[in-house]
């Protein structure tokens, strides 16, 4: 009897943490930030995304359901094979529960499939392709910040309405560029515009003058830049140098991040219209958070991708806490869809059945140097696109989760 009670006294404390974290796999919740840490997309995500995820974890008290939260990161170098390799190791060996960010649509599509196969959770912030919630949707993916459909619907529609009827595309030659061009082309044609031509350029091109001359020769009103990051910066710089804009043609940057505008400088970037789901100076809440973020990010204000990482991780943690489990990725994502979202950066919103996070989008214009009060004071609001109109309607969805129903 004495031995039995001793045994019990010894065993009970060991069991305690087990009951508290009954449904948590492993003794730590691991969040893996997988993005470009060193290449052309490193400034729009990179270490900033890691910081954003850490801020979300800290806000949650560093623990969920009694287990500590750990944030790790890796560089996918914009290569789907490297990204898949890291993700496989993370899921199989390192016990990572959720992969977040993953800019570069090519890599993101690979990770989405892998995550579904392993039944984990994938919250994408950095990638653009609308296929993530379209024909490549899975029950394990949440696409948070923006997508190509929303960008086309924002910038594309507005430019056509303002009289830009004929278009020529400079398109990054991979999944993202092609998706962005496809979605924008649809918007342009639906609104009475016409596409005169397109040229596919390799990812990470340093000289765009040759492509721009082809666009110039097409005599289109609008040169649509279906590229991102360093490629967009180089296109805009070369266009200003070769007198494309002063020659009467206009540029439409279909995906422009605040880090791009910072790098271009207002003198070159002024007047450019862009669609974004987040701007640090939108209201008191975004400003307060962005100040905290900038203090930890070398003074650089957050991009929408980094904001999306923060908000996505926060909502994930809330859902895991509500579910009291993290093992079944599909169940976690279902919980994420069931719970309404609420965070200081994107406000109140929802996650739709196809994995699409729904919130308003904003059409901004880059300020003139004379209008800006200093570094990072770059955008003025042109119009808000309400949440109900900002993203592709479910009725037009190619997502098997929707069409099967």
């Amino acid at each position: 009897m004495r031995t039995a009670s001793r045994l019990l006294a010894f065993a009970l404390p060991c069991l305690l943490p087990l009951t508290a974290a009954a449904q948590m796999t492993g003794n730590v919740l691991k969040i893996g930030i997988l993005n470009d840490q060193s290449g052309l997309y490193a400034d729009l995500g990179g270490q900033g995304s890691v910081t954003a995820a850490k801020m979300a974890a800290e806000e949650f008290g560093g623990k969920v359901n009694g287990v500590p939260i750990e944030v790790i990161f890796a560089d996918h170098q914009n290569k789907p094979d490297i990204g898949s390799g890291i993700a496989t190791k993370w899921y199989d060996v390192d016990g990572v529960d959720v992969i977040v960010d993953v800019p570069n649509s090519g890599v993101a599509l690979a990770i989405a499939k892998l995550t579904a196969d392993k039944n984990k959770v994938f919250i994408d912030s950095g990638a653009a392709t609308s296929d993530l919630t379209g024909k490549a949707c899975t029950p394990n993916t949440v696409h948070w910040t923006y997508d190509t459909w929303a960008l086309a619907n924002g910038t594309g529609k507005e430019v056509v309405r303002a009289g830009g009827k004929t278009w020529f595309f400079l398109t990054a030659d991979y999944a993202f560029g092609k998706a962005l061009e496809r979605d924008t082309r649809a918007v342009v044609e639906a609104n009475g515009g016409q596409v005169l031509g397109t040229v596919l350029h390799p990812l990470n091109t340093s000289d765009f003058s040759s492509f721009l001359l082809q666009a110039q020769a097409s005599k289109a009103n609008i040169i649509g830049l279906a590229n991102a990051g360093g490629d967009t910066i180089n296109s805009i710089k070369a266009a200003s140098e070769f007198g494309i804009v002063s020659g009467g043609q206009k540029l439409a940057g279909l995906l422009v991040f605040i880090s791009d505008v910072h790098s271009l400088g207002l003198k070159t970037a002024q007047g450019l219209q862009l669609t974004s789901s987040f701007y640090w100076d939108r209201d008191a809440k975004t400003r307060a958070w962005s100040e905290k973020f900038a203090a930890r990010n070398g003074g650089k204000k957050p991009t929408m991708v980094q904001a999306g990482v923060y908000a996505g991780v926060l909502h994930y943690l809330k859902s895991v806490a509500a579910l009291k489990a993290d093992g079944d990725g599909k169940a976690v994502v279902e919980k994420m869809k069931a719970l309404p979202t609420d965070d200081p950066l994107f406000g109140k919103g929802t996650i739709r059945a196809d994995g699409r996070k729904i919130h308003p989008m904003y059409l901004y214009e880059v300020k003139k140097p004379s209008e800006s009060k200093g570094p990072w004071d770059y955008y003025k609001l042109v119009k808000e696109i309400p949440a109900a109109e900002a993203f592709r309607p479910l009725a037009a969805s190619e997502c098997p989760l929707i069409t099967k129903k």
Binding site: T205, S206, L213, Q214, G230, I233, E241, S263, L264, G298
Partner: protein, 289 residues
């Protein structure tokens, strides 16, 4: 395709070619005279641009002075590299020099990336060279015309110094048989140090020239260096004349590829390299030893 468009693409190719020529020139000088495969050339090119940006942003010194100061500063940095590290590897297999300079390139780029991020900093075209001329078939920005002119002048000057002057003769003799040249009372080690410094200064000059066109970004050299190495290999390792001609020619070929099959514009140079190496292993202008 109209002749108009063809002309404009040829001209664009020539402009890009002048960067290839300027960069491969420094590489060819260093390899030809020191037998060092200088893999940190791209990083030093980036450093040249970064120094120009720093001069403007923090000291208010503009483009024209930067053209002079930046190559001097970076050239001096090159001298330090040569004196403290590279010099110890002269007698060894060229592979060691390649590994050392490759490591240096990674360190320089990593440090710069840590401080500046990857998006880069803006650097404006100097006011004297803004605008451009309408040539009828295309709009030629003044700055690009200036780049071509400077590149042609610098390339010819370097070729002349190395191939046609007494100093150049010493240099070439020093690499053939340094003991004999030293016996004539010439300080060969110092000559090699200065040669490396000069080669590096050429990279920095190219960097300053590129700053207003591309962004001043820590990755600007890494993006370019592989292409430039291909240029040097096609031209014949160490052949100064070869690297100049190949630099311009490949710029033009790349430009034309961007029109006829843009998807291949990143690979066409390597395709040519493979073919040239199969047919003429020493490169187009290389000497087989």
């Amino acid at each position: 395709m109209t002749t108009q468009a063809l002309f404009s693409q040829l001209l664009i190719g020539l402009i890009n070619g002048s960067f290839y020529a300027l960069l491969s020139l420094g590489l060819a000088v260093i390899f030809g005279l020191l037998n060092v495969v200088n893999f940190c050339h791209g990083a030093l090119y980036m450093l040249g641009a970064l120094v120009a940006w720093y001069l403007l942003e923090h000291l208010g010194i503009g483009y024209w002075w930067a053209l002079l100061i930046s190559p001097l500063v970076v050239g001096l940095f090159g001298v330090v590299i040569e004196r403290t590290m590279l010099r110890r590897l002269y007698g060894l297999d060229p592979l060691y020099g390649l590994l050392l300079t490759f490591g240096l390139a990674l360190i320089i780029q990593g440090v710069a990336r840590n401080y500046f991020g990857v998006s880069g900093e803006p650097y404006d075209i100097p006011s004297q060279l803004t605008g451009g001329k309408n040539l009828g078939f295309m709009f030629l920005p003044n700055y690009r015309a200036w780049v071509v002119a400077v590149s042609v002048v610098i390339c010819s000057l370097t070729w002349f110094v190395v191939e046609r002057t007494r100093v150049g003769a010493y240099l070439r003799a020093g690499t053939e048989n340094s003991i004999l040249v030293q016996a004539f009372g010439i300080n060969v080690p110092r000559m090699l140090t200065l040669t490396y410094g000069a080669g590096v200064a050429l990279a920095a000059l190219a960097g300053v020239m590129a700053a207003p066109i591309t962004r001043v970004s820590p990755l600007m050299g890494a993006d370019l260096i592989i292409v430039v190495f291909a240029v040097v290999v096609i031209g014949g390792m160490g052949s100064i004349f070869g690297s100049i001609v190949t630099g311009f020619a490949l710029g033009v070929i790349e430009g034309l590829t961007k029109v006829f099959y843009p998807e291949a514009s990143n690979t066409v140079i390597f395709l040519i390299m493979a073919i040239v190496l199969l047919v003429k292993p020493a490169g187009l202008f290389g000497r087989t030893t």
